[in-house]
């Protein structure tokens, strides 16, 4: 399995609080991604990174920001969490292009009350 970890694995937070999710890889892959998975919507891309300090928006980026200061870490921040951001969040990495095979982390279940 690719070396990808996500932390925390579960989190419950209140509406309006900031939340940061961390994705850490040991594969030295260039590309990293944050997705959310919701019933009826499948897997949707939030943001992705193609290098240190290089990021771009995905399909559902509103309300989220990301940072990548090191190759191995990709942080996803919800500045002010809302109930609509209750979801399962997955991080993924890929070595080649942003359109190649991806390896996924175990997911973070976030509940915003």
């Amino acid at each position: 399995d690719a070396g990808i970890t996500q932390s925390p694995r579960h989190k419950v937070t209140e509406t309006g609080t900031p939340v940061t999710l961390r994705c850490h890889q040991t594969e030295n892959h260039r590309y990293m991604y944050w997705y959310r998975q919701d019933p009826g919507h499948g897997l949707r891309l939030i943001h992705y990174s193609y290098g240190v300090k290089d990021t771009d928006k995905g399909e559902v980026s509103d309300g989220y920001s990301v940072s990548r200061s090191k190759t191995e870490d990709f942080l996803l921040t919800l500045e002010s969490a809302t109930s609509s951001q209750t979801s399962v969040y997955f991080c993924a990495i890929s070595p080649g292009t942003e359109r190649g095979e991806q390896y996924f982390g175990p997911g973070t279940r976030l509940t915003v009350t």
């Binding site: 949707r44 997955f90 993924a92 991806q102």
Partner: protein, 110 residues
């Protein structure tokens, strides 16, 4: 918005039978990939087929791609209970990262 759309949404078969699920997409692609997700856990890459390929095999998996119909199928032969999972197609349209479909839930009954 979703590029690929899997069909059926859910499929239930007996162990030993073959399972076929389909993916249709809207725009031209460079490649199409299939992933498996077990019980809400992480996704596992199964196979990638390029736009100039028509068929690809990996173990009990067979993937076909028909670019004229903008569709792909994933066949799992001699299914096992351990194949119970959700299966997703993901398309590379060339100018954005992969776009995933909503998945097919496969249940293999022992």
């Amino acid at each position: 918005s979703q590029q690929g759309e899997e069909d059926p949404q859910a499929l239930s078969i007996q162990e030993g039978e073959n399972a076929t699920m389909n993916c249709s997409y809207k725009t031209s692609i460079n490649n199409l990939q299939w992933y498996r997700q077990n019980s809400g856990r992480g996704f596992v890459h199964l196979i990638l087929i390029r736009s100039n390929e028509r068929e690809k095999h990996s173990g009990r998996l067979r993937v076909t791609l028909d670019t004229s119909k903008k569709s792909s199928s994933l066949l799992i032969t001699a299914s096992r209970a351990a194949d119970t999972a959700s299966y997703f197609c993901a398309t590379d349209a060339g100018n954005t990262p992969l776009v995933f479909g909503k998945g097919t839930r496969l249940s293999v009954i022992a």
